[in-house]
Amino acid sequence: MDIAELYTTAELAQIKLEDSEVESLGGEVSQMVAYFKKMMEVSVDALEPTTHAFIKKNRLRPDTFHPSTLADDILEQSPDLEDRFICIPNVL
């Protein structure tokens, strides 16, 4: 994978690449991508993709609400709270 592709990918993944990481990570990514290309040896034209195993029935939940008992515990995990709001620097 070339450097430009690596940076585009990193941007999509919201991963900031330090200059020091580019070489090692870039190398490993390329090695794996090359390895993935082994899959080209298989003819897959006649095959449907498998995305879910063994699920035959619809799985639906009845529409009933449950009081949110964990809301406060969840907010406690937030690094920065303002009243009950979660706080981040402003979107410019």
């Binding site: 990193a10 993944a13 991963i15 990514v29 899959m39 449907e48 699920i55 969840i74 690094p79």
Partner: protein, 474 residues
Amino acid sequence: MTQQINWKETLADGGQKAYIAEVKKRDALVGSFLEFDPPRGKMARPQAEVQTTEELAGIPFAIKDNIALRNFKLTCGSKMLAHFVSPYSATAVEKILAAGGIPVGKTNMDEFGMGSSTDTSALGTTSNPWDLTKVAGGSSGGSAAAVAAGLVPFALGTDTGGSVRQPANFCGVYGLKPTYGAVSRYGLVAYASSLETIGVVAREIPYLEKVFNTIRDQDEKDNTTADWRDFSDPKEGEVTKIGVLTGSLGLDPGVAEAYAQVRQELLALGYEIVEMQLPMLDYAVPAYYTIATAEASANLARFNGIRYGHRPVYSENPEELVQKSRDEGFGAEVKLRILLGTYVLRSGFQDQFYLRAQKIRTALVRDFDKVFSQVDGFLLPVFPTQAFSHGDGGLDPFQQKVADKFTTTANLTGLPALAIPTGVSGGLPTGVQFMAPAFCEDRLFGLARRLKSNLTLGEPPEFPALYAGQEGRS
């Protein structure tokens, strides 16, 4: 089962102190726990209401640190979640609590389950109780090591591409990867959602079975669970014909020897052996890593430092907050897999990689449909090597990935698989695994029980059985 009585006493009022002291002493060497706090674990369910008749009443157990237990941390071995305390418990954990089990702590693991050694953990090092210079395997290395070192009779792990079976194999204990959908994933921090399942590590088969029967169930909170009752085993657990994977398997001598020995024992026990090959085996690993990293790239997107998790000291705007949080919070292996997964899903690359991998998965499913139309169980190795060394003396990250070829097949197909210990070679455990058709875990337990009587299993010399119920392996 009378063996349980002593485990029960470990956490009774008199035994708790001695137990805690002994675990701490042992774990100072092994490093299996990230958090160990039996008194707090006992509060997970009021002990007064536990009936002694309950299936797992009073039995201590450990939980891999990517499975939620309320009021305990849920770090996933990552700096990202080093201080995250779970406000809720996983369904599987709830079920064990409901059966009377007592969670004593959370075990170390490769960061977010990404590794085969537990060395990618950002929060601690776990060593193999058989030889502390060796890894315990991964990613459920902490759970396997805790069980092997006699600290708990069983532990929960998770298996995405072999993460229960491989460390169990390295540590000489049993490791079950159930059928996909048999056990709820609610509360299991997702790495690769369509591949992974909660599994069980145990030193004794009865615990394995009991725990599995306790945790398997359809769950309203996990729409990918299925009702096991809808999939009854037409053979009711009976196994007569066993497929054996042949061909050039590339096994280390100790592993090859054990594999051959098991084959002999099976014959000796009267099983019919059918030699088989899997045409898609060579493509399992690239397909596996394509799918796993793709799913991981989305699953790990939620870690952005906003609602929880690592947040940088200062950031100018939301984008910088998110990037710094992820840059500082994730280790190198995690970043590698997120990048890979993002790449294989990108438009222009998705058909070539992700979609192709999902089709190869279909081909592999067909391979196994064929296998199980001919045999009742399938024997294959777990990992090409025995436990390897920490650091540079071991396998490099790429070699470790390629070595997942025998384990990933069960994850790609969703089929159940059980790693069983077979003995010791060169001071380290050896083992094999069996696969069975979907929801036919009983066949695996049956096979394990039959084989056990013909094998000589040892225990780690430095960590002899702590409590009754662990000896008497022969």
